[in-house]
Subunit: 154 residues, 2 copies
C-alpha cells in the first residue's frame, strides 16, 4: 500500500536513554518541536491543558523485527498468545506509540512533560491536548493480563 | 525532515460518508484490515477488550490546507485563537487522528466498531486495545472552550 507522508515535528530530548518496561511515571523530558514550520503560534493556548496526548514513532525498533502475528505480552508464558494489534508492544506495524502525559510547562516550542513512556531521541509526529470528552464512553472491559502488565508501569 | 514509512493497515468501511461536527456516538462502521500481512493472528485476543484506540489519517484534508499556526476552534470567534497542536482539528500537521471507540465484534480481520469519528474510506494506521492504565494520571484540567465544543460531539 502507498506510504503516507508522515514526518517528525520534533523529538524527545532527555528522559530515559534506555528502553525499560516499568516506572515511567516520574520521568521528565522535553519535547523539542523544531520542525521549521512550528512556531509559538502552533502551540498557542496549550498551557490551558494539564495533559497531552503524544503520538510518536518507536524508531529504535528494527523495521525487519516488526511482529505481524501473535505472541505472549512481554514474552511471559503465563499470559496468553495475543495478536500485536491486541497489545501495545512497540514492535508493531508502523511502530506508532500513543501515550498520555502531564504537561509541566510550555517554553517557546519546547514542551516539558512528565510521565511520557518514550526514550530520548524519539520522533514526535503529533501532539494533541487531552480532552475528557475523548475518553472512552461506557464501561471499560479489558483482558486480565493487561491489568497485571500495568501494575508497575507508571 | 525525512518521511517515516507509515502505510495503511486497512480502511474504515461504512459509517458516515460526509464529515460532520457532532453526534458520532451511535455511528457504526467496519474497520477492514486488509493489509496483506494482517491475519487472524494479528488481532487474536482483541475481543477481550471493550474499547479500541484507533490511529488514522484525515486523508480528505488537502495537504496544502494544513494549518501550522493558530485559529479559532470550529471558526467560532467566541472561542480564543488556539494553536493547531492545542486543539484536535483535522487540518493538522501529519493529519493524524486518534480516537477511542467501542469494539462491537471481531469478524476475521474486520473489526465492527461504534462511535468512531472517522468517515468511510479513512486509512487506519494503528489499532491498540484501550487499557485503563493508559488513561491520564492525576487531575485533568482543560480549556473552557474544549468542554463547550464537546457538548454534542458523541
Amino acid at each position: 500500500m502507498a506510504a503516507l507522508g508522515v514526518e517528525p515535528l520534533g523529538h524527545v530530548l532527555g528522559g530515559r536513554s534506555v528502553v525499560e518496561d516499568d516506572r515511567w511515571g516520574p520521568v521528565e523530558a522535553r519535547l523539542r518541536l523544531d520542525h521549521p514550520r512550528v512556531s509559538a503560534e502552533t502551540v498557542r493556548g496549550l498551557e490551558s491543558f494539564s495533559h497531552l496526548e503524544v503520538v510518536f514513532v518507536f524508531d529504535r525498533v528494527d523495521p525487519d523485527g516488526i511482529e505481524w502475528g501473535s505472541r505472549h505480552p512481554r514474552g511471559n508464558p503465563d499470559w496468553p498468545l495475543v495478536g500485536i494489534l491486541a497489545q501495545r508492544a512497540k514492535d508493531r506495524p508502523n511502530r506508532i506509540g500513543v501515550s498520555r502525559c502531564e504537561l509541566v510547562a510550555v517554553d517557546g516550542t519546547d514542551l516539558l512533560v512528565r510521565g511520557l513512556d518514550a526514550v530520548d531521541g524519539t520522533p514526535i509526529i503529533d501532539i494533541k491536548p487531552w480532552l475528557e470528552g475523548f475518553a472512552p464512553r461506557g464501561e471499560v472491559r479489558e483482558a486480565p493480563w493487561a491489568g497485571e502488565l500495568m501494575r508497575d508501569y507508571w
